[in-house]
Symmetry: C2
DNA sequence: CTGCATCCTACACGATACTG
DNA sequence: CAGTATCGTGTAGGATGCAG
């Protein structure tokens, strides 16, 4: 088990690598949440704001813009008096959404294990006066 | 000290957002790259450093520690004269790795589309003196 | 309702130097 | 080889207030 992975290492080399690319796009505290929250069809700004919970208007706006800029999100503005904006994912984003749910599923499955690992790690660290 | 977890907002709404959980773990410029680079078995520090290329020693170390703390990575130190440290993913991390490669695959498939979308978006923005 | 402007803090990351 | 220590920077993100 070695040769086939060489390409992975090579793929990871410079800034232009897809890894960093996707990272940049999905990075951030809210991107994934927004993508998932917006996945079930046209969603309005306020809906997202409530759905995601914890996100600030500023962050929602900024992330929405970035996603739109990357062609992951389509923002439809209805020039009505009370402004109405519908956000929906592009097909491309829906593909991403699949990987994302996979990620979330993983998180759900192992959350407790991870939490335990952290406690164990921290405890072990505290046991070591050196690490203090 | 592990204080100041402004990021996760801790236990308050942890159950509510496994999204944020996973985000926090995969967030960062290098986490994914490291996980992928370390996926093919025991890898030494320097190997990772060379494989990922662009990463600083400091960042490699920090991320390695975090992954280890979360129970995603096992760090085996061989107390030999030239220190030898082997890093390998835990089974849990391997599952994550699958989602990750999915993510990377998506990135590879749509990279050009995204780039185009950006250009289009930016161009459109420049066309609008109003936006100035 | 949807968003932008401003201010401010925290932290991720980089560069460099030192060490066992 | 595999880190650690320190300093400096950029920017993500939060809080608040104003606006079409």
């Amino acid at each position: 088990m070695s040769r086939s992975h060489t390409r992975v290492a090579e793929a990871v080399k410079d800034e232009a690598c897809p890894v960093t690319e996707v990272l940049d796009r999905v990075a951030g505290k809210w991107s994934i949440g927004i993508l998932i929250a917006a996945a079930h069809g046209p969603v309005r700004f306020t809906e997202l704001e409530r759905a995601i919970k914890g996100i600030s208007r500023r962050m929602l706006t900024l992330n929405l813009r970035r996603l739109e800029r990357d062609g992951l999100l389509i923002r439809t503005v209805h020039p009505t008096v009370p402004p109405k904006v519908e956000n929906r994912l592009t097909p491309m984003a829906r593909e991403l959404h699949d990987s994302l749910t996979g990620l979330v599923g993983w998180a759900e499955r192992h959350r407790s294990t991870i939490a335990a690992a952290r406690v164990a790690y921290d405890t072990a660290a505290e046991q070591r006066p050196d690490t203090d």
